[in-house]
């Protein structure tokens, strides 16, 4: 059950495949060899750095340091969520909403898993908390950015329909409901596809990693199932949070549709 330990020469041999890609790029004039080299170097440097950081964090096992690392990861994910939609809310709305939704969904899902299914001692043991938060964040980030993009582009596209409903005495909740629904649906479809295709199209990454690391396949499968449920739950929570927070930003105390809170540049493009 012990993992086969990789040595530097092992990695160097695999690295020769990157060199092969580089040779192909030159031979076929793909013009990619520079980018390829930079990407490969970045991969190594970034991962080695993360490895050292994780080693330090695991060794210290401080709850505050662990929380700090998770919060930094959440802040970076929040920025990603904010950057992906084409439309921008004014006053850093995208970022505030993205970071809050991501934090809420990730912390809730991770803490639930750590205190019930996985139960390390202590429950905040960074060896479990940090990688778990990381994998949940990836999925939450996807769900949140899809939902925010669908909401913000949809509100511009369906402006006349929403305002028609308001003008006839409908509440902002009634007017926005179809859009809110479709934004959340759009965010959940990828994870639903991922769950239905798991094991058929590809072996999911976590499972593959754990089998390679020496884990018995049924154990690895159980882990994968647990993680997929966590990812689906996290995505759902993030999508709902982002959509409702976003919809609230797009209205005011008189239940108007406030498209003036989307940035000028974005408005010009859709006019």
């Amino acid at each position: 059950m012990t993992p086969i330990v990789l040595t530097i020469p092992d990695l160097a041999i695999a690295g020769s495949l990157i060199v092969l890609d580089g040779v192909l790029s030159v031979a076929l004039r793909l013009g990619l060899h520079r980018q390829l080299a930079i990407a490969a170097i970045r991969l190594v440097v970034q991962l080695v750095l993360i490895g050292f950081i994780l080693r330090g964090v695991f060794a210290l096992a401080s709850p505050w340091l662990t929380l700090g690392v998770v919060l930094v990861m959440i802040a970076i994910a929040g920025r990603e969520v904010a950057a992906r939609p084409e439309q921008r809310l004014t006053r850093f709305g995208n970022y505030t909403i993205g970071a809050n939704a991501v934090a809420f969904a990730t912390l809730l899902t991770a803490i639930l898993a750590l205190t019930t299914a996985i139960r390390p001692t202590p429950w905040y043991d960074p060896r479990y908390a940090v990688p778990l938060a990381g994998i949940i964040l990836g999925s939450v980030l996807n769900g949140a950015s899809l939902a925010l993009d669908a909401l913000l582009s949809g509100v511009v596209q369906h402006r006349a329909a929403i305002e028609a409903r308001l003008a006839l005495g409908g509440t902002i909740g009634q007017a926005m409901r179809p859009l809110v629904r479709s934004a959340i649906r759009r965010a959940l479809l990828p994870i639903i596809n991922q769950m239905s295709a798991a094991g058929l199209v590809t072996l999911p990454g976590i499972m593959t990693g754990q089998i390679l690391a020496g884990m018995e396949p049924m154990q690895a499968v159980k882990y994968q199932i647990l993680l997929m449920f966590l990812l689906a739950g996290g995505s759902g929570l993030a999508a709902v949070a982002v959509t409702y927070l976003g919809a609230r930003r797009l209205t005011d105390d008189r239940q108007r549709l406030r498209l003036d809170r989307l940035s000028e540049k974005a408005k010009g493009r859709t006019a």
Binding site: I162, E163, A164, L166, G169, Q255, R256
Partner: protein
């Protein structure tokens, strides 16, 4: 005599201030070049755009209404109406279908068109069905933005007949129109909008 609708010092960042009092049964026609602020004024009165100042319905301050309640009484119908359903009938309460068909027919829209896909209707048919949506609420105030902009002479006459009946029943109206003739036919008073200011014509 108290006005049905009164606005005082109504202004936004980009338009106004506006002063206006409309009696029950009175129609105010507003003309003016495109972009002069006609739609802005109607949207401000309906509280669809941020604005300051006073608006009163039968002497009751707008701030004492919930926003949706205010808009149900002071109904704005846009020049290019929006739709959220597949067919026109999706936009009416099921209990009102008989009235919808009756009103549509009076405005010159064939009853079966109401159940057709909206994409298959002409601009003029959609415009009249949007008007049906507003009329169905029996609001005390109607704010109509070019209600006959896409209609031929015959259909325009149908619409004006129905609007005149509503006026006789006590509805107050603000009608934005590009046609000076329509302003004369319908309007008891006629205002001109220029550079986001309103003045008697």
């Amino acid at each position: 005599m108290t006005a049905r609708l009164r606005i005082a010092n109504l202004r936004s960042r980009i338009a106004g201030p506006f002063e206006l009092a409309v009696e029950a049964g009175e129609c105010i026609a507003i003309t003016g070049p495109s972009g002069s602020g006609k739609s802005l004024l109607l949207r401000m009165i309906a509280d669809l755009d941020p604005n300051e100042g006073e608006a009163l319905l039968d002497d009751r301050d707008r701030r004492r209404f919930h926003a949706p309640e205010w808009r149900r009484h002071v109904v704005y119908s846009a020049a290019e109406p929006g739709w959220w359903g597949e067919q026109a009938m999706d936009h009416f309460p099921a209990s009102e279908h008989a009235r919808v068909l009756g009103l549509a027919e009076r405005l010159g829209v064939e009853p079966e068109r109401v159940r057709d896909s909206l994409a298959r209707l002409s601009t003029g048919e959609r415009q009249r069905l949007a008007l049906v949506r507003a009329l169905l609420l029996d609001p005390p105030v109607l704010l109509l933005d070019e209600p006959t902009g896409a209609l031929d002479v015959e259909a325009t006459a149908c619409v004006e007949t129905v609007l005149r009946e509503r006026l006789a029943g006590g509805t107050a109206m603000l009608v934005v129109t590009h046609s000076a003739e329509q302003a004369d036919r319908l309007g008891h008073r006629h205002f001109r909008m220029a550079q986001r200011r309103l003045s008697p014509a």
